[in-house]
């Protein structure tokens, strides 16, 4: 009987379980879960703080999920090594799990730069896991002043989540703008303005020089008093298991479109991987939930002897703060890279579509996000823009811009 | 009160018939008896008989049985007849005075032969000429009425119960190879002698039980061809239809039956014999207006035979029985048993299925 080991218990692991079970209902599945929680919706931790969800509703799957999927979950265990020779996964308690195929779904870990004096800060937190969140929740009070290092997705979602629970929030970032990984300057400005209107303070183009207990001294010289510190500078893919066994690793574990690493029978999925980004044609770490699930699922199918390829991953993000939504996808090629841009902009809304070589490669939408998936599908499915009425499509995302035949297939058949 | 011819009167009826396939002669007595058990099917407002083979000595002459309202009418009519026919015999039809039959008109018979010169000048064949003349007398000559006009056959009818009518006409004195009988139950008429049945034209005679719902469709169609439905009775129109189909169109008895009691389209479509199917399609398409709907059972008498026919849904009773060379037909089995207690093979013919009985060739 086949034995599948999945290291990690996040969404990629669930995808992997469901992929395996699609092919193999008999084989044994063992999930190694470092966290002592059943799989939960990790991106929901900020919503938890905000009160929009609770621990029960945050469960990604039903209570009897593992049982129904015939999975054993080893909670609180950590895989320390994958032994290729013996085809076993070694756990931190010394036990060894033989595998037919293993999936590394270890996600990522927070990256904490070596700030001087950080050890003098009493209340400092990462914002990655449920445990981080629960700890943070108990640490804050209505009078707390919170300093968040990092104006990326994690930092800002944390800020939004804490806003109603604390007295003051300051977010600082070395970058010149918020959400620098997904937004260009103009777009970031709109978001920043909106966040500021909702009471978030920013210190951009700046970083902490040194911490002294409850005070941070910035490189600009500014001093900030705080009583809770959240470190959200960034994350690093958790690649060590594969790297240690000699698998090829870059910023993430390198995988092909079958989610195979360079080591036979070792698969990887989720935030720990580096795979194709078809919008740019390059390898990238695409640490986003939809990709994690789909990679996991693809890995699972292949691990169990099926054949599946996840051939059209792209970066994409839907994120909202205080009611203002932004959606981004793909790659934004500038003029210098042969790209062109279509833009609609008003005070609160912005649309930027990035086109290169007759294809849509990326977009940024702020404020108006209706039917954005139609744009996403243009990128993912590499639809030539000359096959559709892009002139009307760029103004309004609607299937009306497709040819009647295409539309007939989309709306008139089983898809 | 209006009588037949002025208004259409529905009626219920009793019918009976007998024929000898060997052509053996029978007196009218048995057919009179057959009507007795069916007394309640009549109401005393009409009864009648037709006998075939009864005038062997005048078999080449048309026997015109006529009612006249008065002597003068008869005189006038005779003048009219003499212009057209050679009258070989003219006599009163013998009757017997009985209390149950009253108010009789003058009842006369002529044995005639059309004048060849008249036929030639009118460019008509003999039968057509006789038929037209009968039609003319019946429509134009007030008080005169031809109620039988065939050769070697005759009808005898009156207002009264049929068994009394038979006695009245002394039918025991006639010998025929086939007989039909009719007792009538009209619903709203005082009864008129001419309205009693059988109805005849030339050799055709019809006794009928039923009330056909297609009457006016049939009548208005058949009147296009020179027939005048003066009595407004089913029997009359059916007689004309049979005359038209058989004599004028040359159809066989079976084909004529397929016109007036045509099979349902679905039945025709289900036929496996292509020729048969084609024939039925053809006949029904060609003569739609001669389809007879509504209940009827008829016995159609002709020279040398009888045909019994029910409407295609068989909405009226009619049974057939046999014994030796004889075939019996009646509304009720009791009537057959009266004529022949040992009748065999009694069966009820299906709707639309004609029963044709012929006297064997040369039997008379």
């Amino acid at each position: 009987m086949n034995q599948y080991v999945i290291i990690g218990n996040g969404v990629a692991a669930v995808g992997c379980i469901e992929g395996i079970r699609q092919e193999d209902t008999e084989g044994k599945i063992i999930v190694v879960s470092e966290e002592k929680h059943a799989v939960y919706c990790r991106p929901l931790i900020s919503y938890y703080l905000e009160g929009k969800t609770d621990l029960e509703r945050m469960q990604y799957r039903s209570e009897d999920y593992y049982e129904k999927m015939h999975c054993d979950v080893l909670y609180g265990k950590k895989a320390v090594k994958i032994d290729d020779a013996s085809k076993t996964v070694i756990l931190d308690d010394g036990s060894a799990l033989p595998y037919t195929a293993v999936c590394v779904a270890t996600g990522s870990v927070p990256f904490v730069p070596p700030f001087s004096g950080l050890d003098t800060v009493s209340k400092k937190f990462s914002f990655m896991t449920l445990d981080d969140t629960l700890a943070l929740e108990t640490a804050v009070t209505p009078s707390s002043k919170v300093l968040i290092i990092g104006a990326g997705l994690i930092g800002l979602k944390c800020a939004e989540g804490l806003k109603e629970r604390v007295a003051e929030i300051t977010v600082c970032d070395l970058a010149d703008r918020v959400l620098s990984s997904i937004l260009d300057y103009d777009c970031a400005s709109i978001m920043q303005k909106h966040l500021e209107e909702n009471g978030i303070k920013f210190l951009l183009n700046d970083s902490v020089e040194t911490f002294e207990s409850d005070t941070a001294t910035m490189k600009s010289g500014k001093k900030i008093d705080f009583d809770v510190l959240v470190l959200a500078v960034g994350v690093r893919a958790n690649v060590s298991l594969v790297r240690d066994m000699g698998g090829e690793v870059n910023r993430g574990i390198l995988v092909n479109d079958h989610m195979e690493t360079t080591v036979p029978r070792v698969y990887a999925a989720g935030d720990c991987t580096e795979g194709d980004d078809i919008s740019s044609g390059q390898k990238r770490v695409l640490a986003i939930l939809p990709n994690a699930y789909m990679q996991g699922h693809c890995a699972g199918v292949n691990m169990a002897g099926g054949s599946d390829a996840f051939s059209n991953p792209i970066p994409m993000n839907s994120i909202g703060f205080f009611g203002l939504h932004s959606m981004t996808a793909g790659t934004y090629f500038g003029k210098e890279d042969g790209g062109e841009m279509y833009e609609e902009k008003t005070d609160r809304k912005l649309k930027r579509l990035f086109i290169r070589n007759g294809y849509l490669t990326g977009f940024i939408l702020i404020g108006e996000t209706e039917r954005a998936g139609i744009y996403t599908s243009l990128i993912r499915q590499k639809i030539p823009l000359d096959s559709i009425d892009f002139e009307s499509l760029k103004k309004t995302a609607a299937l009306v811009s497709f040819s009647p035949e295409t539309r007939g297939k989309m709306l008139g058949g089983v898809v | 009160m209006k009588v037949e011819g002025q208004i259409r009167i529905p009626s219920g009826c009793a019918i009976a018939a007998v024929i000898s396939k060997e052509g053996k002669k029978m007196s009218g007595e048995k057919i009179i008896d057959s009507m007795k058990p069916m007394h309640d099917r009549s109401n005393g407002l009409g009864g009648g008989f037709a006998g075939y083979g009864i005038y062997p000595e005048y078999k080449d002459f048309y026997a015109l049985h006529m009612f006249f309202d008065q002597r003068a009418t008869r005189k006038n009519c005779e003048v009219f007849l003499k212009e057209r026919f050679e009258i070989v015999k003219s006599e009163i039809i013998p009757t017997r005075k009985i209390p149950s039959i009253t108010d009789e008109p003058i009842i006369w018979r002529y044995f005639v032969s059309p004048l060849k010169s008249v036929l030639a000048s009118m460019q008509l064949d003999e039968k057509e000429f006789v038929a037209r003349t009968v039609m003319q007398i019946n429509t134009e000559m007030h008080g005169a009425y031809v109620f039988s006009s065939g050769k070697n056959m005759g009808t005898f009818k009156a207002v009264g119960f049929p068994e009394d009518v038979g006695v009245f006409y002394k039918l025991e004195e006639y010998q025929g190879y086939s007989w039909t009988a009719h007792g009538r139950y009209p619903t709203n008429t005082p009864g008129w002698w001419g309205g009693a049945h059988p109805f005849t034209l030339l050799d055709w005679s019809i006794v009928h039980n039923g009330e056909i719902s297609s009457y006016d469709a049939n009548r208005r169609f058949i009147e296009m061809f020179g027939y005048k439905c003066t009595l407004q009775t089913d029997t009359e129109v059916i007689t004309y239809i049979m005359d038209y189909l058989i004599r004028r169109q040359g159809l066989t008895l079976g084909e004529a039956a397929s016109v007036i009691a045509a099979p349902f389209w679905s039945t025709i479509e289900d036929k496996t014999n292509r020729e048969d199917k084609e024939k039925h399609m053809y006949l029904r398409t060609l003569f739609p207006s001669l389809l007879i709907t509504g209940p009827f059972s008829i016995v159609f008498g002709f020279d040398g035979g009888l045909m019994a026919l029910n409407d295609r849904l068989k909405l009226r009773s009619m049974v057939v029985g046999e014994k030796d060379d004889k075939v019996f037909i009646a509304s009720e089995e009791a009537a057959i048993r009266t004529m022949e207690p040992d009748a065999e093979n009694i069966w009820a013919p299906a709707g639309g299925e004609p029963v044709v009985v012929r006297v064997k060739d040369g039997a008379f």
Binding site: S318, G320, R407, G408, M410 | -
Partner: protein
């Protein structure tokens, strides 16, 4: 499985489907009470230009990317029907970002809603189909 299909040849662009949808999912007895004087949030929408129009609602894909992408585990597929659990949804709109048909949109409260074929409401059969005056929307097996 029976799905809702649209035939744009017969769509009149009357938008009745949108109103019938909004009413069917309102839980109210009377359309005027349910819809009068407020914006409607139908689960089907009519797209149109000068020459054509047609309605779009969830295709109930056999391999639904929205379900895979949902960060809250709020979308699920059972017997082919894709449903949203409004209790779990946090309104992140990731499903909007990935749906190639533009078939999802938030409700008045911001939580997602989508066509669930009227299987859960009192209509019992898709209200858009029932109310389409020109049979441009049909509910059938294909």
């Amino acid at each position: 499985m029976k799905r809702v299909y649209v035939n744009e040849k017969w769509c009149l662009g009357c938008h009745l489907c949108e109103y019938n949808c909004a009413f069917a999912n309102s839980g109210m007895q009377d359309m005027a009470t349910a819809l009068k004087g407020k914006p409607i949030y139908p689960r089907i929408h009519v797209e149109e230009n000068d020459t054509i129009s047609y309605a779009v609602s969830c295709r109930h894909c056999t391999d639904p990317i929205c379900v895979k992408s949902c960060i809250a585990g709020a979308l699920s597929q059972e017997d082919g029907v894709i449903r949203v659990d409004p209790e779990k949804c946090v309104g992140c709109l990731t499903c909007v970002l990935v749906c190639p048909y533009g078939a999802l949109a938030p409700s008045e409260s911001g939580v997602m809603q989508k066509c669930e074929l009227c299987l859960q409401n009192s209509c019992g059969e898709p209200a858009c189909v029932k109310g389409c005056p020109n049979r441009a929307i049909v509910y059938e097996e294909r």
